[in-house]
Assembly symmetry: C2
Homo-oligomer: 489 residues x 2
């Protein structure tokens, strides 16, 4: 017989850029998504779950070349050789869903969606190829009341998941105001206009002085490299800087400055008026500048949007990986985009929406100690006598029936130390022990593992004597005693 | 200038075999998953969410050929030309996760997982390429106490999601008993053994008489085609039939019959003893034969498993698409599989688990009217005067603050009829109207849309007069009146 070539063992690894989530990482996220869904639902939004796989044609933005369809999405060919891909966000699928089902959907269509999206991008630290998004969008509402409402909803979401007022701010801007500014600058060509837009995008990073230099002759950056500027005169650059720095003491002051920055531009005036309407609507609903502000320095993603844009930022400071203080930063963003559905139907359908970065928001809550990062484990009923498994199972059945998380140790029970090590690894609050003697006497031993751990760390001998962390109770009192200990922990 | 070729519009369609889920379809499933997670958690299982994408090597079962990696999974090559694929179930990823993280995980490792899986199979009616699974598994526990526990948990899950006792049954069998039966039959070769296994798999479909024919000379099937049999003698076939039909009046009776069916086989005796232990453990926890039974006719998927297997079946009758009565059937299944981790590490790790078909379970609850299939929509505040949007937004802000789902109509308000049509399409319970006159008088009109619909269908003129479905209340009583109507509905 020919020798059979042995297959090498497969490697147990996630593909590059992917990861697994364990225990509290999963349940905390599920709890947060459920809270966010609750707010979205209260605002009248309906759930939508579209398929994870879309035709590349419908996704649109990323078109694969024939050999390697690798431009940002994970794509492959189906049995008819048509390219399909994993969705890279929840907005492109919404446009497809709306176009496909528009005759059956209400108008306006308000939907929320939550789930993983996939990006075929270079992974990095904390940057994965699969992550969660959590969006709400209103399709078919031209009124800026829809935008104002989404800002109010975003504020409610942040407070509902545990970010107190004062620790966040929702900032609102309008792409039309920027268009107005560009219009009144009288730029000579499209290339110059694009260069100005790219420079504005750097405002977050380089600040006012940096943008001033970059719009003019250029700038020596931190690495020592010289970055060529757009080449505008000081006068030409002025409207952009006036726009970016026009945040005033209140909405009225900001709007006055913006009106000056846009000069005679009609589109600019429309943008400023929309911002005024949004501010008025928010005040009428009780959302003051402690929660939502007009802020022209919100520039991120302006290119994608056609009207109002908004961003939620957490304002408290955290320490970064190098121990330096920095603001936590953006956790959600969105705005108005009016031509996504048009790709499919030819009809322009106004739409506005928001996307919440759930994983960043969870990280923020952990950072602030608002959610426990370690989950409490089950009560562990240890196995002293393998033949009495039925007795131990009866105990956990009683505990579970009382709503208490509990399990019998199901590993090899020979080494009792391993059972307690298991309980420790699970972060169990209580262990239950019933050996032959206890069984004969009709009692069980109940160990308070949390107290035991505290005592082991720093208790004096007297405290050890005074505060026993192990109790002997009648078998019939098992559930009552465990509950008592859990309530005290 | 050359004429620019216009791109044709993309088609707004889901890829073949995929679908979208709307509103209650999504939120009902989320609610069910949350309930199931609650039971799993109470039993001491921890959440795990592995990545949707795995290396094809790790998935193992389906290996793509080079040209068309189409054998059951959706696969593609990553930037290093390695094949990766969407997971086709939650068990293969569990084996990979356990092998990868085994030094950090507790032993036994009890985990639950829920989420979509993908199959590259021919879609059919009600058969999609993406669907949900909801699994719980215990890795590293050799004791059948782990299997018994999963059966008990499955029973709890079904009752927690709304299937009352009596409407379901969990059936338990053991692959080892079947192996014992095959052993004592003294089959001449592996080919014959495989043929017997394939025949047993048809028991669900063809019943005892059918299996008898198929084990012997052959059988004329319903379509008129003659199916060749395995060619066993009547005596040789007897143990298989004894095994399949050995369900007795109670567990003890069934076990006695099984002991007869396995003759002198040691593996068979081990299997019967495991079933006895499982039955004893379940009785000790209070799970009687009204919930969980030993049933040797459970054959589905036996090939995959190495020990105990279980299946949950809904026992009530429904009408199929042709109006015929049939039992709803299986909604969950699982069992012991002891060599999945071995592929990676070389070490055999015992494991047992269950997978719940969430979508089928939801369908069953809808069928029985236990969950509403249409979700209640939001209270709709209509827009009578576009310039008073702030007033209307203030109303919904009050309603939402009181926990009432509400929204302002954000479409074009010109045609009032469209606003009521919208409320109807959303299945809204209440509409609120405040025109100029109402504003001047400090009142609002509140329409009970559910009562209105009922009246429109079948009310007499007297009833119309007696039971108005529209109320005029002071603006300050808006929230109280809406709440009153909602509570009555």
């Amino acid at each position: 017989m020919a020798k059979v070539k042995k297959q090498p063992r497969p490697k147990a690894v996630t593909p590059k850029g992917f990861r697994d989530y364990f225990g509290a990482e999963v349940s905390d996220r599920a709890a947060m998504l459920s809270k966010i869904a609750g707010v979205y639902h209260r605002y009248g939004f309906d759930a939508l779950e579209s398929s994870a796989v879309e035709t590349v044609e419908a996704l649109g933005k990323f078109l694969p070349d024939v050999d390697r369809p690798n431009e940002g999405v994970f794509a492959w060919q189906d049995e008819d050789d048509a390219w399909v891909a994993l969705r890279y966000d929840l907005t492109a699928p919404l446009a497809r869903v709306y176009a496909q089902h528009r005759n059956d959907l209400p108008l306006p269509y308000r939907r929320y969606a939550m789930g993983p999206v996939w990006r075929n991008e270079k992974p990095g630290p904390g940057r994965y190829r699969q992550f969660y998004q959590c969006d709400a969008d209103t399709v078919g509402a031209a009124s800026v009341a829809a935008d104002a409402e989404i800002c109010a909803m975003l504020s409610d979401v942040l407070e509902d998941v545990g970010i107190p007022r004062g620790d966040y701010i929702v900032r609102v801007n309008n792409r039309k105001v920027l268009n107005g500014v560009l219009e009144c600058m009288g730029l000579s060509d499209d290339g110059q206009r694009d260069a100005v837009l790219r420079t504005i995008d750097k405002f977050d990073k380089v600040g006012e002085a940096g943008v001033r230099e970059l719009l003019g002759k250029g700038r020596l950056d931190a690495s020592g490299a010289y970055i060529d500027g757009v080449g505008l005169s000081v006068e030409q650059a002025e409207p952009v800087l006036a726009f970016l720095t026009s945040k005033g003491a209140d909405a009225a002051a900001t709007l006055t400055k913006l009106r000056a920055a846009i000069g005679e531009s009609l589109i600019g005036a429309e943008g400023v008026d929309e911002l005024r309407q949004i501010a008025d609507l928010l005040v009428a609903q009780g959302y003051g500048p402690d929660r939502i502000v007009i802020d022209p320095s919100v520039v991120r993603g302006l290119g994608y949007y056609t009207g109002p844009v908004f961003e939620a930022e957490l304002t408290f400071e955290i320490l970064d990986e190098k121990g330096r203080k920095r603001q936590f930063g953006s956790v959600a963003g969105g705005g108005r985009y009016d031509d996504l559905v048009k790709r499919f139907t030819g009809q322009e359908v106004p739409a506005t929406g928001v996307s919440i970065g759930v994983d960043r928001l969870l990280a923020a809550l952990r950072e602030k100690g608002r959610i426990q990062s370690v989950e409490s484990g089950p009560v562990v009923v240890t196995v002293m006598d393998r033949d009495r498994m039925a007795d131990y199972q009866a105990m956990v059945a009683e505990l579970r029936a009382a709503g208490i998380r509990a399990e019998v140790y199901l590993g090899n029970p020979k080494n009792f130390g391993n059972q307690l090590k298991y309980a420790d690894k699970r972060n169990s609050p209580v262990a239950v022990i019933e050996g032959g003697d206890e069984k004969a006497q009709g009692v069980v031993q109940i160990k308070d593992l949390i107290l035991g751990k505290q005592m082991a760390e720093n208790a004096t001998l007297e405290e050890w004597k005074e505060r026993p962390s192990q109790y002997e109770v009648a078998r019939g009192d098992l559930v009552a005693k465990v509950r008592e200990i859990l309530e005290q922990q």
